[in-house]
């Protein structure tokens, strides 16, 4: 097991050499991920691991990809998507133009889910979906629109549970063990790297979706990111978090009101 001291050294290297600041990530999870990568890549000593990190730019891409958690699903938590369908999209539809930010979008499953919701609500043509992540590798995958065929059964069930009425397979074409989602869903997506730790607000949005990203941050960084979101949300727009995340203890809490049972808040001040 890598000691806490060595973790500190590795985090320092990453920050000083590459500008990635993981010091405010929740340490237990981060330590577990670094240990996992260390044994996965069969390093023989911490020194070997550190010098690889310091000297091999290509390895950093892998390191970031493996250290950050990129597990995601389409229509995960169907009740959440149901609330988006029934409570949020009808309100967003009254705007002439809808800007949505998926912060920490990983491989994009939630962005495609959202595009499907918007299309079914007849709103996709006037929407823009900004999808950002710290990790260029996952953005490439998201941009490709190609997902494993083996996941489609689960996604289709999630989709139906969320209130979807179409045949889910009508949204993609299958090819061997992968499926490619229809290009019209992608047309309104803009993919870009963005680091929630160090990058600032870049637009004003009607809905920000950031689910199961903040659990990897410590409280101090969570607070900074909440402020970043607050700066990026117009009045009466929405913020959606993961099912175990909350605005409850944050400094911006008083400006927001939870819409219903799901972790969706509306900015009221």
């Amino acid at each position: 097991m890598i000691s806490d001291n060595d973790i500190d050294l590795i985090l320092n290297d990453l920050h000083e050499i590459y500008g990635y600041d993981f010091n405010y990530y929740s340490r237990a999870s981060l330590k577990r991920r670094i240990n996992r990568l260390y044994s996965l890549d069969k390093f023989l000593s911490i020194n070997e691991f550190r010098s690889k990190i310091i000297s091999d730019k290509n390895y950093i891409k892998r390191f970031i990809e493996e250290i950050t958690v990129n597990v995601t699903e389409m229509f995960r938590d169907s009740s959440f998507y149901k609330e988006l369908r029934t409570r949020i999209l009808p309100v967003l539809g009254t705007h002439p133009f809808i800007r949505i930010w998926h912060a920490g979008c990983s491989t994009g499953e939630e962005v495609y889910s959202m595009a499907i919701l918007l299309q079914e609500a007849g709103l996709l043509h006037k929407s823009l979906l900004y999808a950002t992540d710290i990790n260029p590798g996952v953005l490439e995958k998201a941009q490709s629109g190609i997902f494993p065929l083996s996941h489609m059964k689960q996604y289709s069930e999630n989709y139906i549970a969320s209130g979807g009425l179409q045949d889910f397979s009508s949204y993609y074409t299958a090819n061997y063990d992968g499926v490619k989602f229809k290009p019209e869903l992608q047309k309104k997506m803009i993919f870009s790297t963005h680091n929630l730790v160090s990058d600032s607000s870049f637009n004003e949005f009607h809905l920000i979706i950031c689910r199961n990203v903040l659990i990897y941050f410590d409280k101090e960084l969570q607070e900074r990111v909440f402020n970043l979101f607050d700066e990026s949300l117009a009045n009466l727009s929405y913020l959606a978090l993961g099912s175990k995340e909350t605005l409850k203890f944050s400094g911006i809490q008083h400006k927001y009101k939870q819409v219903d049972r799901e972790k969706i808040w509306r900015k009221i001040k």
Binding site: R27, A28, V69, G242, T246
Partner: protein, 189 residues
């Protein structure tokens, strides 16, 4: 011999819910440590499990929220579909990374994380189950000085999980459900 700890971590899979429902009503209402429970269960984001436990004990039961502080005297339940980790500042972190032993929450993940923070102030108890989870967690806990307990496989609905743990590790005590009650009630006494 009585044991002391700050955390009693309990892991279980198939057949473990029945054991806990039997054990909980017999526990003292005031405990000077915290109990963390990691159970394999179907994905459901409702809090049915903590509600169910609350009907069997007066000890306060919480389904863990991200960054929640660990306070002595409470029972904390790992939420469905998240790994449960423990931070050095004695609070919880949730993690939605890959399943471990086909499980999320994984017992190994919580036991290992608790061992890293609590060392000798930890007691780990592994219950019935048809899976390999928990065994490696017990190993790490033992290496860090924790006390390790396993439900007697003869009393378990599914013997696989406790049997594997006993085969692969040096276990301090192998206990029947009745003995589990007696053991827990003697902690920190």
């Amino acid at each position: 011999m009585n044991y002391s700890c700050k955390i009693l971590a309990i892991g279980g899979s198939a057949g473990s819910l029945e054991v806990l429902l039997k054990v909980l009503p017999h526990l003292k209402e005031e405990i000077s440590f915290s109990i963390i429970i990691v159970l394999h269960r179907k994905n459901s984001s409702d809090s049915a499990l903590s509600d169910l436990f609350s009907t069997r004990t007066k000890i306060p039961v919480y389904e863990v929220e991200d960054k929640q502080s660990i306070v002595p005297g409470n029972i904390y339940i790992a939420p469905a579909d998240y790994h449960l980790l423990i931070e050095k500042n004695i609070s919880f972190s949730l993690d939605f990374s890959e399943k471990v032993n086909y499980s999320r929450p994984s017992i190994d993940v919580t036991f290992e994380s608790a061992a890293d923070v609590f060392n000798t102030d930890l007691i780990c108890l592994l219950l019935s189950g048809a899976n390999m989870d928990g065994s490696n967690g017990l190993k790490v806990a033992k290496e860090n000085g924790a006390v390790t307990l396993v439900q007697d496989p003869e009393t378990a609905d599914s013997k696989i999980m406790p049997s594997i743990a006993i085969k692969n590790n040096e276990i301090d005590h192998i206990l029947t459900p009745d003995q589990i009650v007696t053991f827990i009630n003697s902690i920190n006494v």
